[in-house]
């Protein structure tokens, strides 16, 4: 999820939670305020009344009650015959002229003229709560308005403040194909964190670029420096081989030299190829039907199948075409896989190449009935120059699978290996849809 989306979501959610809590609390809150206000009013009235009774005497007021026509409040003073003294404020029901009404009642007992009186001052709960609802409504409307305003403000500001980050991601990270970066363009921002991020990314890119450049130069130079002496040696051996005055015994030794030189040449060529692939020095502009590619490989390799009398079969849809690939590389990748399947197969064994649609992806499987790979060796089979014990007797130097892996990675193909010791291996190539036309 994007940072901006996350921030917006969090802002909105947190405000909603706060608002909900507030709305839930609002009635109780307002009720409490009202009650508190009302109680203090009742107390004031009590003090006032007692003051009046003290100055004017109880006579005029005893045994009387006063109420407004709508019965919203009343005051009564009665003789109290009970023993206890009251001084409370609580909610109670009273029947006034046949109506049962709930009141907030202040009850107070006092003595006047040696008699005990009970004073009640009351306000009906309806009158008190009458103001609660409009209060609540106003508060609610205000709240919603303010929340909307802050959400919009937050959104606008986070948009504004995060724009440079978006730009950094868009221009510096997405769409840049490693290791080919464009030129540096400063992202405009007043946020120092982003400035720092931008500069840091730029520095890292520069470092990577320099390293790659150096590696490219090294490979180019090393290849030149290695290939030229190999070339000279090879020519010298070839010319010597042709000289008539050279004895056959010497020729055999020249042949030996030629073979060793060939080995050196193969290793150098393979390492170069891998580095060139990793430096993306190949184009991916070819289209080739998979069947055709396999046929070409078969032409090259049938002699090796014959040698071990291996049964070879292909199960590939005729109209399956590989697109946006480098044909030379694809050829070498599949060649190496099939070549391995032959090398590590048994006499009269079997090799099957099958392409199929498997859970949303096209896969090409190379299935053999060979010696298999031990589970503990599986993680290392793609390492350069790693020779497994099983392959030691083979004339190879452990670069076949590294070639496969770098070509696959170059084309964004995933390679999966399943293998059972002594039963065979399955190399599965998982091809992205962008490489397939059908």
């Amino acid at each position: 999820m994007k940072l901006r989306t996350k921030l917006t979501l969090f802002n909105t959610l947190s405000k909603l939670v706060i608002a909900t809590i507030f709305v839930l609390l609002l009635p109780t809150l307002i009720k409490n305020i009202n009650q508190h206000y009302n109680d203090s009013r009742l107390l004031k009235q009590k003090v006032k009344l007692l003051q009046i009774i003290k100055t004017q005497g109880i006579k005029d007021y005893a045994e009387a009650s006063y109420y407004t026509p709508l019965k919203e409040d009343y005051v009564s003073i009665d003789l109290d015959t009970t023993a206890e003294n009251l001084d409370t404020i609580k909610n109670e029901k009273r029947i006034l002229q046949g109506d049962t009404i709930e009141y907030r009642i202040l009850s107070h007992t006092f003595k006047a003229d040696n008699k005990k009186y009970l004073l009640e001052i009351a306000t009906s709960l309806d009158a008190i709560n009458g103001t609660t609802r409009p209060f609540q409504n106003i508060a609610f409307a205000l709240l919603v308005g303010m929340i909307l305003l802050t959400i919009i403000a937050d959104q606008l500001y986070s948009n504004f403040v995060l724009t440079p980050l978006g730009q950094i991601i868009k221009t510096k990270l997405i769409g840049h194909k490693f290791p080919n970066f464009g030129s540096y363009e400063k992202v405009q921002t007043s946020t120092s964190d982003f400035e720092y991020l931008d500069i840091s990314i730029h520095k890292m890119i520069k470092t990577i670029e320099n390293t790659f450049q150096k590696e490219r130069e090294f490979i180019s130079n090393a290849s030149h420096e290695l290939m030229t002496p190999i070339s000279i040696l090879q020519s010298k051996i070839e010319n010597m081989f042709e000289q008539e005055d050279i004895a056959d015994e010497l020729k055999t030794r020249l042949l030996e030299m030629q073979r060793i030189l060939n080995r050196l040449k193969s290793i150098t060529k393979t390492l170069l190829l891998i580095s060139q692939i990793e430096n993306e020095q190949f184009l991916k502009e070819d289209s080739v039907p998979l069947r055709e590619l396999l046929q070409e490989i078969y032409d090259e390799i049938s002699i090796r199948l014959q040698g071990k009398n291996i049964h070879y079969s292909v199960d590939v849809p005729e109209n399956l075409v590989l697109i946006h690939v480098n044909k030379f590389l694809m050829f070498n990748m599949v060649f190496n896989l099939i070549n391995n399947a032959i090398k590590y197969n048994r006499e009269n064994g079997e090799i099957k190449v099958a392409a199929m649609r498997e859970s949303d992806c096209w896969t090409v499987k190379i299935i053999d009935t060979g010696i298999g790979i031990a589970a503990e060796d599986l993680p290392f089979i793609f390492n350069r120059f790693k020779k497994l014990r099983a392959s030691l007797k083979q004339d190879s130097f452990g670069l076949g699978l590294p070639i496969v892996q770098s070509i696959a990675a170059f084309h964004e193909i995933r390679v999966e290996v399943q293998s059972e010791k002594d039963h065979g291996s399955v190399f599965k190539l998982i091809l992205p849809d962008s490489l397939i036309k059908i």
Binding site: L233, E238, L255, R259, R263, D299
Partner: protein, 227 residues
């Protein structure tokens, strides 16, 4: 045929000269771009072999000059810089072929012959070998009136390569390099050439014994042609 070899590595230039002289080419060698540039301006050549990595000259500039002054010459680029970019650029400028180092001298000669054939459109290139007729243009081999269709492309490649270097022993390494040279794999010592030769012999034997295809004990194979 006149060949100009432009190669700054003296060791390699010498071997190229010895080899080409053996094949009856008249060879001149330059070790740097400046002297090559002079020679190109003055003399006419049939072949110009250019090493791209010269110390004093950009090989591609030299190629441009060669194409200007010697438009008829066949230019072959020899280089250790095997980048695709150079390859495309070189061929765009009119190079006829491109041979990455290290290459076999036999391969160079076979390329030179192939281009000559292409360029001058030599008519039917037929060779008679003890009753077998090898048509190098159409790439078929026949005996009498019947075409031997069982011979595969690879097998024909081998026959044609040995025929081009007739009477010369070709080692298994040389033959392998010719037919599998462009494949990068991690086998360095495969003896599949023997299997191929065995197959070729078997297929031809159905018509007549191919005595001209000789095994040179311990060394390799050759096609023997009496001249």
């Amino acid at each position: 045929m006149n060949v100009l070899v432009i190669e700054d590595e003296k060791g390699l230039a010498d071997e190229l000269e010895i080899f080409l002289n053996n094949y009856n080419y008249i060879c001149e060698v330059c070790f740097n771009g400046a002297s090559a540039s002079e020679k190109i301006a003055v003399n006419l050549y049939d072949f110009i072999l250019i090493d791209l990595g010269l110390p004093d000259y950009d090989g591609l500039d030299l190629l441009r000059e060669a194409k200007k002054n010697n438009p008829e010459a066949i230019c072959i680029i020899l280089t250790a810089r095997a980048e695709v970019y150079d390859r495309i650029k070189g061929l765009d400028l009119g190079a006829d072929d491109y041979l990455p180092k290290p290459f076999s001298l036999l391969e160079l000669q076979s390329r030179m012959q192939a281009i000559t054939r292409r360029k001058f459109g030599l008519k039917q290139n037929l060779v008679d070998l003890g009753g077998f007729v090898i048509n190098l243009t159409d790439r078929v081999i026949s005996y009498g009136t019947s075409e031997i269709s069982t011979i595969t492309r690879k097998e024909f490649d081998l026959i044609a390569y040995m025929l081009l270097h007739k009477n010369r022993t070709l080692t298994r390494s040389q033959l392998s390099e010719h037919i599998w040279g462009s494949i990068v794999n991690d086998d360095y010592d495969s003896n599949y050439i023997d299997a191929h030769i065995k197959n070729i012999r078997k297929k031809l034997n159905a018509f007549a014994p191919p005595d001209w295809l000789e095994t040179v004990r311990g060394l390799g194979y050759k096609i023997k042609v009496n001249t």
